[in-house]
Subunit: 230 residues, 6 copies
């Protein structure tokens, strides 16, 4: 079986984000895997609001159409924009980092908290948890009130640690989910500080796409995700 | 990073089952991974009823205690007996094949059907789907009325294909879940016949344990899964 | 209070669709109301799949930005593409015809059935009902297996009547929801035949936008629907 | 089409309440609409407890039977007493102000808080939200501990504003729902203070009845709301 | 401890119904228990529709006020009309036969079916199951299309047996619930025929009131069921 | 009808616990009832964690098999270990004290709080409430951080009273549930202090088994709880 080729779809316009996430993904996947980083040619530098998610979803589909023959795709924006739609356009597996982060959190903890950037996004995240049937597993969605572009750096660790400690000690979280691709760079440091699993969905998401591919599980082409006609 | 060592916990007494599942797992994991098959020394040859699941759960804990230092564990009985309890006894990741099969089905399809052995088990499977928040994703739990010990052979494919075709064509399933470890041997043949993803949780479950390990995600030792004291 | 000006946002490219829905809306609104029909300059002639909904959502935002100063907006595609996002971009009320159809069905019946075009769309409609908290009110989502472009004509009535009779007599529906803007033209004929309320969301949706405006209820600009910054 | 005639059913005995709500309704409906105020001849001056709601429901049916030929009915008590039953007794649309307030809140905000009079009523309101499928949309039901008869006056605004500010700033509400018909008189003042939509269901409810009538949507007479026989 | 005195509240006007249920209750309770049968002085001879339930609820409160000092109350109409309200008016325990029937069904089976009189009542029963959190436990609400006044006699057994056999053999019910007090007289015969538990709530409901009393569990007078003031 | 014989199954190894609960049960049941106390011969002296619950479930089945011919069984550990499985092994009714406590709380209050020993057990209790469909009825699961072996004595009352007062006054609980069999001894004192119903499930659970037996309701032997074969 030839080496696995992953499309890492970053629906924002930041090549630096694509590269940062690409490093995490390459470190996690087997040595012979190829990672094709795909950065949105247009749209927003950071995706935080619902209107930005609409643009991001369109970018996801455009990027997938540019590289339609890879072995699997990771949609690297926590809201999972366009994931259902992307599954219509390929038979390869497609995973969003948000969904992947939640799945991993349910495997290593019985309750998790979600840490996000802005309060305005809490309702959309809660609705996403409802759609996955996971709202009862989540002890709370907590906002840093610090935007995407202020995540990922060394000074971004302490605010996450403070909120995470509250979630573990007061709210009963066993694990944390970082609801923003740009936070992935700080996950290891947060885990170190708090001693609980910190799930960001980037590395685990790429490994999940790979696992589906290894297990021979491709996107269904019957019913909901059938190829669009005409 | 040294090679990954997986504990494959089979809570029934059939060494043949452990070996059959071990082959699927070894074929899926990287070449340098070690798979330690653990077969229940006591209990039942097949686990189908709730009282057998109680025994199976106790066997899972006993087997894990025999080999407490592996890198991760796959509980290879679809009902996931003792999985929450097992997570108390180790910091390594623990995954059940039932949970794994459901997760994979939600990644490659929007609706799935579950195919099981006996009608008496339908309510317990539905309750399990509720506990995972996935009942709304499932179009039906369908029983073959054919027991565990009659699964896995060549003549076991046709009944599954018949029920699966009904699920895909009439009930709107995109993917199928086979709710019995012994069915895993027939998953590839069913997939071939029906052209939809067929999820059994054995290979994908082992890959999921591996993915958690690669991503550095260990079972939380805070709150619900903390080490038992005293 | 000056006359009400409604933006009728049709996210497909069919001017005929915009005009047909515009006629229904004008007949329902007060005589001094103005209806500004907005047809997508690009995208798809019919919106049926998830990937087409992604495009439609982007068109909704583009059309709203073209006419940002109206008193309210009706998004005239049953899937309500981009409605959450559109509410970020205006303080005027924004209603989708899908949501409006469901609301009206819950006011004139205790149980409703949804009649849609293609089976592939059933799962997305069910997920939408879940998101609105209405899945328990719905006795079933039934597909005609007849596409959007074959709706609205005289020959489209009989298949809907047949499915609707089944829903009322066998499934216990009190009311029907037609899950496609193009079906609105046939709603009156179906109601005539079956003697139950038939909800399409076009006229009632426009009246709902008007009712919000009359009651002084504008889209909130705090929290989830706050203006995007930067 | 002749002018619309609305039955405004006030199930308490306060003519002043009927008149206050009638003013709000007349100001919202078209100029040629007629509003027939119907005040309970017996029962309670204020409806706050479950036993008072039982009496109120009986009053609703009695008042509807007094004026059975109007074009639509608004049940003007927030608990919506007797609304399902009233729909059995007429083919005209029947809307409760509680349901109407919730619907409007879901159209102008993604999360809302409910402000009510007494703590003892919180559980019943939560159960009502569950019945509408809206509990996940509500960030909390908050009690003033100030009864119905102390609502509506100028001094009633400040306590609602204080609780509402807490709901918007701490709990993440985008909109507020005032769970008491007598609070409707203060809705405009609260909105002015807080700058968020304040939904009371009186004006919007009347407009909703009117919208159903304009759209030709009458109460179904099949299945749940069929005419009682014998 | 003196003998237990139960108020058997029958909210319809049929003394024969009160007596028939009284016999079942007396046979179940200890020999020294007193049963005070209370028949509605007004209202309906049979309670089947929502508008009849409104009247029945008012009758329940009136009857309880007539005999306010008993040790517990059984509301003997399957819809449990006025039960929440009745709990405001007494500190003694109050149980409805519908709730009691459902509780017993969840104790002797994992899935149950509900058999009712008329199809028009199915939605209200489903909503009641939702309110109790039990809809997922119920495999279906099935209607005989045979009214209350045609229940209870010898010829009423066969139709229930036919529907019950379908529920057990095709739908997977372990137990049956008879959703009408007048069906209680036939429960034993149905059980005999089908060999599954048949739950009607009359005898078990009276025993439940007695059990609460024996265990010293009275209706709470804090929060939701506090005494009404003024 | 001969006297009722109850199997009181205590899945921990403490004979003192069996005797303490036996006293409560004997005081509640009729004078001619026999209570057979069954104490686990092996396993744990206190059952608090998930791995201890696995052992407890196996003990429940072993104890039931020792005394298979009694008229009913009460499983006297709040987590209800092995209750579904036990119902496969007998046609007599089987009730767990956890389920019984919840049922009684829903009959005497509209909202309840659960008071438990350790925080680590909160998630499992919440999941149990979800499985019973009762999570919306519960205002919170509150932990004393005081283990099973420190419950039941005179000094155990004050901490429960403090937490219970918070639940009633701040969270809106009408009733309290004590989530540990060993707390049953203090229930009366807590009730005395707080003036709300305090539900422990021991006495009420035994009375519920008796009520099922009196009403002729035995565990179903069709479908989910059928006798295991082979």
């Amino acid at each position: 079986m030839a080496g696995f080729r992953l499309g890492l779809i970053n629906p924002n316009t930041s090549v630096a984000d694509t590269e940062a996430m690409g490093s995490l993904v390459r470190a996690a996947l087997p040595a012979d895997a190829a990672v094709v980083g795909l950065t949105a040619p247009g749209g927003h530098a950071a995706v935080e609001t619902e209107s930005e998610h609409v643009t991001a979803a369109a970018q996801v589909l455009a990027l997938l159409r540019l590289e339609p023959d890879l072995d699997g795709y990771l949609v690297a924006c926590f809201d999972d924009p366009g994931v259902h739609a992307a599954r219509e356009l390929t038979a390869a597996p497609v995973v969003g980092i948000g969904h992947a982060a939640y799945l991993s959190a349910t495997l290593v903890g019985r309750r998790f908290a979600v840490i996000t950037t802005l309060r305005r996004g809490i309702a959309a995240l809660e609705d996403g948890l409802d759609a996955h049937g996971l709202r009862e597993r989540c002890v709370g969605v907590l906002a840093l009130e610090r935007g995407v572009r202020d995540q990922g750096g060394a000074d971004a660790v302490a605010p996450i640690v403070a909120l995470g400690a509250h979630a573990v000690e007061e709210l009963g979280a066993d694990a944390l989910v970082l609801a923003c691709g740009a936070m992935a760079a700080t996950a290891a440091a947060v885990r170190e500080e708090l001693g609980v699993p910190v799930c960001d969905g980037v590395a685990f998401g790429a490994l999940t796409v790979h696992a589906l591919w290894r297990a021979g599980l491709a996107t269904s082409k019957r019913n909901a995700y059938a190829w669009p006609v005409g």
